[in-house]
């Protein structure tokens, strides 16, 4: 399974069953109803996985810098998992995938290796129109059924789950630096600059992906920061969101109704 295009045999059998009408999904009942309400039908639960060996990269003890090899590894591994999930969706003839979750798991048996998994529910429009994205692939999004319904009401349609990542090494402070500001609470401009740079790089890369999809914007941007297994001085900044474009036709947004819940 060296390329994104080669799905395992097990996946083939499962997808064949799905093509014969049985659908699986991890949607809640409410999500299922809302997706049906906006004219989509769930086709099946799709997933992609990649076990990736994350190498090591030397870093300078006292210098803040991006660790480009680790950035590439974290990006490529997720991209592979996403591509395989998209391929499963494509096999099903889906227009898109909703509720995508991207997870990273570490196992005891694989030192320096991690499993990147992408999971979601493939959906297809019931009116026969294609909702595939600019690249002709099924759209992906981490939107829940409720969010998908709401987004469609605004006249925007999802194009793809876009992401950008940056693995950054934050410098250690030398004794001289520590002593120079001992006893004072002051800003450390180099550290501020390093964190700023890392987050901005992750977000710029995410926006680049959105531009490739000719998106009008990205909604639900999340900035996640994790040290994984690298220690506290090396941090991955991951930026994720759903790229959207304006659909056809004018949309009049409904005025929300004030309600009072009698449930409790």
């Amino acid at each position: 399974m060296s390329e994104a295009g080669d799905l395992p045999e097990g996946a083939g059998h499962r997808l064949e069953e799905l093509e014969h009408g049985l659908f699986t999904s991890d949607l809640s009942v409410n999500e299922f109803l809302l997706i049906k309400e906006v004219g989509f039908h769930p086709l099946g639960f799709v997933m992609g996985s990649s076990i990736y060996h994350i190498g090591i990269q030397t870093r300078r003890w006292g210098q803040s810098q991006e660790l480009t090899k680790l950035t590439e590894a974290m990006y490529n591994a997720r991209e592979l998992a996403m591509s395989r999930m998209e391929e499963e969706a494509q096999e099903l003839g889906a227009d898109g995938v909703v509720g995508v979750r991207l997870d990273v798991n570490y196992y005891e048996w694989g030192k320096d290796a991690a499993e990147f998994i992408a999971l979601g529910t493939a959906v297809k429009a019931e009116d026969g129109r294609s909702y595939r994205n600019q690249l002709g692939k099924p759209f992906t999004s981490d939107l829940s059924g409720q969010d998908f319904w709401t987004l469609m009401q605004t006249g925007y349609v999802p194009q793809g789950l876009v992401m950008g990542t940056c693995v950054y090494h934050i410098a250690h402070r030398g004794l001289g630096q520590t002593m120079a500001s001992a006893g004072r609470n002051v800003e450390l401009p180099n550290f501020t600059q390093a964190l700023y740079e890392a987050r901005e790089l992750a977000m710029t890369r995410m926006q680049d992906e959105a531009n490739q999809l000719a998106a009008a914007g990205i909604v639900g941007v999340r900035l996640e920061e994790k040290s994984h297994q690298w220690g506290s001085h090396t941090i991955e900044f991951l930026s994720l969101g759903t790229a959207v474009t304006r659909g056809e036709g004018e949309v009049t947004l409904p005025t929300p109704t004030t309600i009072i819940s009698l449930d409790n």
Partner: protein, 332 residues
């Protein structure tokens, strides 16, 4: 906290005075690159995004600011020792007007284990440092917003957390910059359009919560956050009560109020309220949240910190009754 609606300089001394490595606009190069991209970014959830469109506000971009501070809890030198028979606070004088209160020992006995006095002291230097870090991060977010030509910032999220293991604290503030996209959008002092020379308005609210605020006749002016910090050096009485003992010094062993700690808790909250009130001017605070943390630093000794946050809002039209809500029952 700056007042974008009323102050010509959102964060005094911030804009264009960043340290080395920043571009001419005062922001890091990477931020400037990102701002010039085509697509908008928004940290809003889909329901909040939809509500903003409904109000005539269009997302312009995800904006953020960060400031990394060296952080130490002990910066005062020259403080008198509570074990000193002199019992006077010699050098650790709080800023003029800062809160302090002494609790003398009633026993007239001093030893290595018995303090002559205790003290509650407002640590103004920690408050100043916190404010400096928060305002630096906030000011950078405002700079990004102004570079986008946006009118306001919705859904502001702020945090401060220790970074790595180096005794440093990062302040991080982010939100979604919005422009007034429709001519029939909300209006009022700062509701739809921030003034370019006054800076954008900002609020922790987004989506329907912001819509309800506007519906009630209030417009957001600015997020407000401030801190108070009181250090408790426990007196002998406080130490014994905190330890749940001992009758030997004439202290009752039944349940009793620990006056020094109670007063410190009251003072730290009162100070936070006063700090925030000083920033409000004629406006009101909406959706306030108060968070008090206690860091124990020894037997009975503690550092109390209180952060009070909320939305500074201004009435822009008279109150009109809200529509009568429709009772609903969810089918579960």
């Amino acid at each position: 906290m700056p007042d974008p609606a009323g102050d010509p300089s959102p964060v005094p001394g911030e804009r264009g005075t960043e340290e080395a490595g920043k571009a001419d606009t005062g922001l890091p190069e990477a931020a400037v690159r990102r701002m010039t991209e085509h697509a908008f970014t928004s940290g809003l959830s889909v329901p909040d995004f939809a509500a903003c469109l409904q109000m005539g506000l269009r997302p312009a971009g995800f904006v953020q600011g960060s400031s990394v501070m060296q952080w130490q809890w002990y910066g005062y030198s020259g403080a008198g020792s509570p074990f000193s028979p002199v019992g006077q606070w010699t050098a650790a004088t709080p800023r003029s007007g800062g809160y302090q209160r002494q609790y003398p020992c009633p026993h007239g006995f001093v030893s290595a284990e018995h303090r002559l006095w205790g003290q509650n002291l407002e640590q103004t230097w920690i408050e100043d440092a916190w404010r400096s870090g928060y305002l630096a991060a906030f000011g950078r977010m405002v700079d990004e917003t102004m570079d986008l030509g946006a009118d306001g910032i919705v859904g502001v999220v702020d945090s401060w957390h220790p970074l790595t293991d180096m005794g440093v604290l990062e302040f991080h503030v982010f939100g979604t910059a919005v422009r007034r996209g429709e001519p029939d959008g909300p209006d009022g002092p700062g509701a739809g359009r921030g003034h370019r020379d006054r800076g954008p308005w900002s609020t922790y609210l987004a989506g329907q919560r912001l819509a309800k605020l506007l519906e009630a006749g209030y417009a957001p002016v600015s997020v407000v956050a401030d801190v108070s910090d009181v250090r408790v050096w426990a007196s002998c009485v406080t130490q014994y009560l905190a330890a749940g003992s001992v009758g030997a010094w004439g202290v009752r062993t039944t349940s009793d109020e620990i006056t020094q700690v109670s007063e410190a808790q009251t003072a730290v909250r009162q100070l936070a309220r006063e700090h925030v009130r000083a920033q409000l001017g004629p406006d009101s605070l909406n959706g306030a949240s108060m968070q008090t943390t206690v860091r124990e630093v020894g037997e009975g000794d503690a550092d109390l910190q209180c952060v009070l946050r909320g939305n500074r809002v201004r009435r822009f039209r008279d109150f009109e009754p809200l529509p009568r809500p429709r009772p609903t029952v969810r089918l579960r």
